[in-house]
Each structure stands twice: as C-alpha cells, then as structure tokens.
C-alpha cells in the first residue's frame, strides 16, 4: 500500500528553486534512502513532507498516515548539545502529539516512553542528562522520542553524520530492525554504501544523476559505480567514503 506519493514536486526559497520535478512514492514497509550532494535539497524535501514548509509546485499525497503521525529525527542543532534535560524528559516529549489539549502526561504516555526506551536499549541511561551522552546515545534517545510519536513512519535526516564507523553500523542495525518490525523509514544519508545495503529504495537528488528506484537497480547505474570507486561489497559495507 502506498503511504506517500509525490508528483512533479518543486520547492523554493524565496523564488530560488531548491529542487524541482521530483516524482517518487513510498510504500508501507519501505526503507527509502535519500542521497545526493550537499545543497541538493534533501533536508528541504524532508521539511516539505513534514509540512514544515509549503511546496510550490506538484503534489504530495498521504494515505493511511496523517502528517502528525510522522516520527522525525532532525539534523542536530548546536543548542541541543548542552541542553539540560534527562533522557526520560526528552523521550516523553515525543508523546505530546497524542494528548491534543491535555496539559500533562498520561499513564499511557509514560508506559509508551518506557517501551520505546527499552526498544532502543537505553534503559541504563534514562536518568542521565542528554548533554552528557555520546553522539550515538543521543541519536538513540531522539529515535526513541520519534517512536513515541509514531509507529508507522520515521523520517531521519542524517542520523549517522558525525558518528564513528562502529556506532554508525550499530545505528543502521537499529533502524534496520525497526524497519523489519513494520516501521516505514525514510532516511537522508551521505553514506551511499550502507544506503544500498539497508535500503530497498534509493532516491538520488543530485541534479546530474537524478534516480528513483530499487537499490538493486541503483547499484547498476554509472553514478553509483563512479562513487563507490571499487570498494563496494553488498554484504560487508564500506566506510571509506569521501564525506
């Protein structure tokens, strides 16, 4: 079943086009990886899907999922790095969209937060301060928060940037498991090898080698071969990419 369908999508910043002519769709259970060089409009597309920014042309259609039911993991901001908040407070805040106008957390909210904390295996650090965690732990916390907001669809904007290779592959495994348990995942990444390894669909937003299709087809394209410079193994993954 199709969850999202975008046709001929175009987004602009004050008249300057970030991207245009984008057509793709996301099925239930997909793991879509969005790749493309810096500035090709990946984050902008994510904001469009979330409704944080209006698109200026084309259509976005959701079916079976409301825009509010999307779990989002934003690119980290500098201000968050030293924010005084416990893991518990951060994760719980993902439940707010369930309460409409009720001002406090319900018992179900707290149960839910506990479940997701268990799922991300961060029980041991639940009372720690967010700012004292490592980059990988912080991402797990933000994932748990996103899961509190949804069980259907996750949008992840560069969840592994700045993480070391071991933590990166742990993150991919975590996201892979979530996807296996039925969560549809859309993920922006620079890590093209893990993208084709874990993702079943690839959207390449580079202006010159635009591509949307399965990852098996993407491996056969010239642009992928050029980028992988012969160090790609479908099983092993490869961390020696440029960025």
């Amino acid at each position: 079943m199709k969850l999202i369908e975008c046709k001929d999508l175009c987004m602009k910043y004050e008249g300057i086009t970030a991207f245009e002519g984008l057509t793709f769709s996301v099925d239930e259970g997909d793991f879509l990886c969005i790749v493309g060089e810096n500035g090709s409009g990946k984050s902008t597309l994510i904001k469009g899907l979330l409704g944080l920014k209006k698109h200026s042309g084309g259509t976005i259609e959701f079916s079976g999922v409301k825009p509010k039911e999307i779990g989002y993991l934003p690119q980290q901001t500098a201000a968050q790095k030293d924010f005084p908040a416990t893991v518990w407070e951060v994760v719980l805040s993902g439940c707010l969209n369930r309460n409409s106008y009720f001002p406090f957390y319900t018992k179900e909210n707290k149960e839910r937060a506990k479940t997701e904390i268990g799922r991300m295996k961060i029980e041991g650090i639940a009372n720690k301060s967010y700012r004292d965690l490592s980059g990988g732990q912080q991402q797990r916390v933000l994932l748990a928060r996103a899961l509190c907001a949804t069980e259907k669809l996750l949008l992840l904007d560069e969840p592994v940037s700045g993480l070391d290779p071991i933590v990166t592959s742990e993150m991919y495994e975590v996201i892979h498991e979530l996807n296996h348990s039925g969560v549809t995942v859309i993920m922006v990444t620079h890590d093209i090898h893990n993208a084709v390894h874990y993702g079943n669909r690839i959207l390449n937003m580079s202006r010159n080698d635009y591509f949307f299709g399965t990852s098996d087809d993407y491996i056969k394209t010239d642009s992928f071969k050029a980028m992988s410079r012969g160090c790609f193994h479908k099983e092993g993954g490869c961390f020696s990419h440029g960025r």
């Binding site: 934003p74 805040s93 720690k128």
Partner: protein, 273 residues
C-alpha cells in the same frame, strides 16, 4: 536582627517591594530558562530599553506609565519575533537597533518636554517608585504567568528543546514563541520599576545560567532557578537596606556570587565523577 527585619517590613514601601520583587523574580526565572536555552538571552535586554523609552514618553505626556509601556513593549516583542522569523535580519542585530533607538527617543522626549524625570530610577530601579497599582498589576501578571507556565510546561519544554520536531508533531511552535515573548515583555515592564531597565534583563537570565551549572534535568533547572531568583532577590533587598547600597545592583552582585559558587561546584563535581 529579627526585630530589625520586623521594623523594616513594617514600612509599606518595603512590603510592596518585597511582594512585587518576589513575584517578578519568580516569573523572570521561569521564562528565563526558555530564553537562555533558545539563545534569546538578549531579547530581555532589548525590551527593557524599549520599556525605558515608553516610560519616558508616558511621564512627559502625563499618561499612566504602566498602561502605556506594557502595550508598547508587547508590540516590540511581536516586531522582534516577526523580523527574526522572516530571517531578513539576525535577531541580535534587530534587538540592537530597537534598543538603542528607543533609548535615544526616550532621552530626546524627556529633554524636549522639560519635565524633570528621575532617569536614574528608571535605569537602576527604585524601591520607592512602586505604587499601589504596581502591586496589583504585578500580582495579576505573575499569577497569569505562573498558571500558564504550569499548564504549558511540557509543551514549552518540547518547543525549547526541538522546534522542528515539535512543529512536525503538530505543536504550534509560533504560538509558544509568541507567548514567551509577550510574557517576557510584561515581566520586564513590571520588574523595571523595581530593578531598573539595565538590571531586569540580567535578572531574567542569571538564575537559569546559574542552575545549569549543576542541574541536569529541565525540571530541576526550572525549580532551581526559581529558588535562586527569589532568594537572591530577598537577600539582596534586605542587604541593600542594611548596608545602604542600590537594591538592583546588590541583587545582581548576589546573583553573580551564587553563579560563581555553582560554577565552582559544577567543576568539582565533574572532576570527581
């Protein structure tokens, strides 16, 4: 000492100063945490200068100072938010322009009107400046601020921690940002009479910065800064009376001392584990 305190607080002006000061300190601390964490520390500074300009104009024209200053400062808060959101100018530049212009306009109006106004009391505050109506207004405002803060606490946390996640999950972040700046504007105008335009803005951010040296959860930062803020105010008010120093300045120096103490304690705790 206890007797002397009894005598001290038997004066109506001291009672007024104590009531208004405690309420304003409490509200300032609650709002301050969000301002500091969102990197909006300077907004209080800008608004307090606008408040100075507004008070000067009101005094020259002979209209009710608070009734005039509160709407003007709220309007400026909206203007600042609008400019920042449009992204045409950095927030800090907008604040700099707004604050120096209103200061300048205020001074010119005072000079032209020929009314003699105690500028010093507006810049540095005066516990004698508080009238009965200030007390009523500050009680009303503080009750509103505290109630709203409690009701919206979790959403304020969510919006402060991560604005894009919050709006993605359907929280109207603009409403909360507006709400915080409007309340900030009100607290600043009310607090200015007592603490002065120059000091009120630092009183908004000092307690939160202090608490962040030690506290690790948002809730403990919020509670701790409220306690620090109210205690520094009360101690500063009493001390300034006994050793005869300006009240606002005394409170700020006390805040600085507590900040240094917390910073030191934070360093030691971190080193030990």
């Amino acid at each position: 000492m206890a007797d002397e305190l009894m005598v001290l607080f038997s004066y109506p002006f001291m009672q007024r100063a104590l009531i208004v000061g405690i309420l304003v300190s409490l509200c300032a601390a609650l709002l301050g945490t969000s301002l500091v964490l969102k990197r909006y520390s300077m907004i209080g500074d800008g608004l307090s200068h606008v408040g100075y300009g507004a008070f000067a104009i009101a005094a020259s024209a002979g209209i009710a100072p608070l009734g005039f200053a509160i709407p003007v400062v709220i309007a400026s808060a909206f203007l600042l938010l609008y400019i920042t959101r449009k992204g045409k100018m950095g927030g800090d530049s907008a604040i700099a322009i707004l604050s120096s212009s209103s200061l300048a306009i205020g001074m010119i109006v005072v000079a032209l009107s020929g009314v003699s106004i105690d500028i010093n009391s507006y810049m540095f505050g005066s516990i004698l400046a508080l009238k009965e109506e200030d007390v009523m207004l500050s009680i009303v405002c503080s009750v509103i601020v505290v109630l709203l803060f409690i009701l919206l606490y979790h959403r304020i946390f969510a919006v402060t921690f991560d604005e894009s996640f919050s709006s993605a999950t359907g929280i109207h972040t603009n409403v909360y940002n507006t709400f915080i700046s409007v309340l900030t504007a009100v607290v600043i105008v009310v607090g200015m009479r007592l603490m002065g335009a120059l000091l009120i803005s630092s009183l908004m951010i000092f307690p939160s910065l202090t608490s962040m040296r030690l506290c690790r959860s948002f809730r403990s930062v919020t509670i701790c800064s409220a306690v620090v803020s109210v205690s520094c105010f009360t101690a500063g008010l009493i001390a300034s009376y006994f050793i005869n120093i300006p009240t606002g300045a005394g409170i700020v120096v006390l805040n600085l001392a507590v900040f240094l103490l917390f910073a030191l304690a934070g360093k030691i705790l971190k080193r030990d584990g």
